[in-house]
């Protein structure tokens, strides 16, 4: 499989999920608000045991499991959702952000070790987007393979591993008001030959471990974030379509925030200048 073919499959499912979420947009919004129908029963416990993300994820997973496609897989090492389709295994994870994390939401989204296959060196990134190697080499080694090996009836086949994130931005901590919902496609690890270290920046957790490459070079490991500001397009496809789709936006609220990439995506999707 060529790198272009990988991007074609990534792009195909990005579009399919985008249209799926547009199709169920009203059901999703209704679902997000359903918590208020029983508010008196949970309000006093809220903020300690749970968060908006717990309920929001339940709604999205309910829709994906009920009306979506593919066969759910029971693999314990993976994202919240994992489906098998004819030509791939698909991982989907939901992430929620409030306006305190808006800088992260604007350009980079958390990836956990069990959610992607993109391994790379983590470099320092300046506010202007320039990259510089860290003093001690820092690596991100996710747990997902670039291709799964499927054994069935004594046959062995390889299937691509794909990763998608659904990221929800709210303007308060109880998630009452959703500003935007993004769908992003994190590059498959085989695409490192094209994108290099660009898709990743430092994550929340730096592991206190020390390792050595065979040549004696010392390195540490950490979690990472997918930086769509630096690698946010399918660069091997015609017209370089974006790896981000905005599945919902409250444009009046969005105006207040410095989210230029997301605003550009909306303009492109709507085929007119909104921002």
């Amino acid at each position: 499989m060529t790198l272009t073919e990988i991007e074609e499959i990534e792009h195909k499912y990005l579009n399919k999920y985008f249209y799926f979420f547009k199709y169920v947009e009203d059901e999703m919004k209704h679902g997000f608000k359903s918590m208020y129908e029983i508010k008196n029963d949970w309000e006093k416990y809220w903020g300690s045991k749970s968060s908006f993300s717990t309920g929001a994820e339940r709604i999205i997973y309910g829709l994906l499991n009920g009306k979506s496609f593919g066969e759910a897989n029971s693999n314990p090492v993976s994202a919240d959702l994992m489906f098998e389709v004819d030509d791939a295994y698909i991982h989907i994870d939901v992430k929620t952000y409030d306006h305190d994390n808006i800088n992260d939401f604007a350009i980079k989204h958390d990836t956990n070790l069990n959610q992607t296959s993109y391994r790379a060196e983590i470099e320092n990134r300046t506010s202007k987007g320039k990259r510089k190697r860290k003093k001690t080499l820092n690596m991100h080694y996710p747990h997902l393979p670039t291709r799964y090996t499927k054994y069935e009836n004594s046959f062995k086949t390889k299937k691509l591993c794909l990763t998608y994130f659904i990221s929800i931005l709210t303007d308060d901590t109880n998630g009452d008001n959703i500003i935007a919902i993004l769908l992003t496609c994190v590059p498959n690890g085989l695409l490192r030959r094209h994108y290099g270290n660009r898709p990743l920046v430092s994550g929340k957790t730096q592991f206190h471990d020390t390792h050595y490459f065979p040549n004696g070079t010392k390195y540490t490991t950490s979690t990472a974030r997918y930086c769509f500001a630096d690698a946010g397009k399918f660069e091997l496809l015609n017209f370089e379509p974006r790896r981000i789709k905005v599945t919902y936006s409250n444009n009046d609220k969005l105006k207040k925030y410095n989210l230029s990439i997301i605003k550009n995506v909306i303009n492109e999707q709507e085929n007119r200048k909104i921002f």
């Binding site: 199709y23 947009e25 009306k67």
Partner: protein, 251 residues
């Protein structure tokens, strides 16, 4: 009763919802349309040879109805008077009918489409293409109400949508799929007779979507959505579909 604006907002909401649904399942739909090829030897000798035991529409409808029923929305309704699909949602009763046309009849497809009395609620005078009344005057009386359970607590608006498919005669390749919203009958004072074109027989009509492609009460919203458009089709077909292509280019 809803205001005219509220009706158009609902029509637009469900037009968008079904458009996104059909885009979401586009690959599954196309795959479904192709499944006939796997067993072609078993049906080919009986297709299109004058025996008329079947046609393209039978298979295509099976695929689309299966997707709607499996992944769609609402409660199917068992009323015997209605379109092929008829279901109830929170704020409406929705009729959807599939229309397949082959390229030999492309003129029946480009700006208007035949609709049945059991598929819409648009009651109006049918006029000639020059805007003049027929003599004697022809009035169209569809079988669907503008509201179900009108005047009761159970009152709900009745909406009509059409999925139209153009396919190539001979090889059965699909060239175009559209989704149309036909105005609810309450909107007759707004759209008048322009929604209807005279059908081939007296009392029969076509939905004249080329003349009413905008939601008149909403800004920048079309009553037609292009779900699939084969850019590589024969130029002669492309020319005939210029109106539909123009909608596709701005959506």
């Amino acid at each position: 009763m809803l205001t005219d604006l509220e009706i158009e907002q609902l029509e637009s909401k469900y037009l968008n919802k079904f458009y996104h649904f059909l885009k979401y399942v586009e690959d599954e739909m196309m795959y479904g349309f192709q499944t006939k090829e796997r067993i072609r030897n078993d049906w080919q000798s009986r297709y299109g040879n004058g025996q008329a035991i079947s046609d393209f529409a039978v298979g295509a409808e099976r695929i689309i109805y299966s997707l709607f029923n499996g992944k769609g929305i609402g409660q199917p309704n068992s009323a015997p008077v209605g379109a092929d699909m008829f279901f109830e949602v929170d704020d409406a009763f929705i009729h959807i009918d599939l229309k397949t046309v082959q390229t030999d009849n492309i003129g029946d497809y480009t700006t208007s489409i035949f609709v049945g009395e059991n598929q819409n609620s648009y009651k109006a005078e049918i006029k000639q293409s020059n805007g003049q009344s027929f003599n004697p005057v022809r009035n169209y009386n569809p079988a669907l109400p503008t509201y179900y359970n009108q005047g009761t607590n159970e009152e709900k608006i009745c909406l009509s949508f059409f999925v139209t498919i153009l396919y190539e005669a001979g090889n059965l390749n699909i060239l175009n799929i559209n989704l149309l919203s036909m105005p609810n009958g309450q909107l007759e004072p707004i759209y008048g007779s322009s929604v209807l074109r005279a059908g081939k027989n007296p009392g029969k009509v076509r939905f004249n979507f080329g003349a009413v492609s905008d939601f008149m009460l909403l800004s920048n919203k079309k009553r037609l959505k292009v779900v699939y458009f084969n850019e590589d089709m024969d130029p002669s077909y492309l020319k005939r579909l210029s109106f539909i292509e123009s909608i596709k280019n701005i959506q």
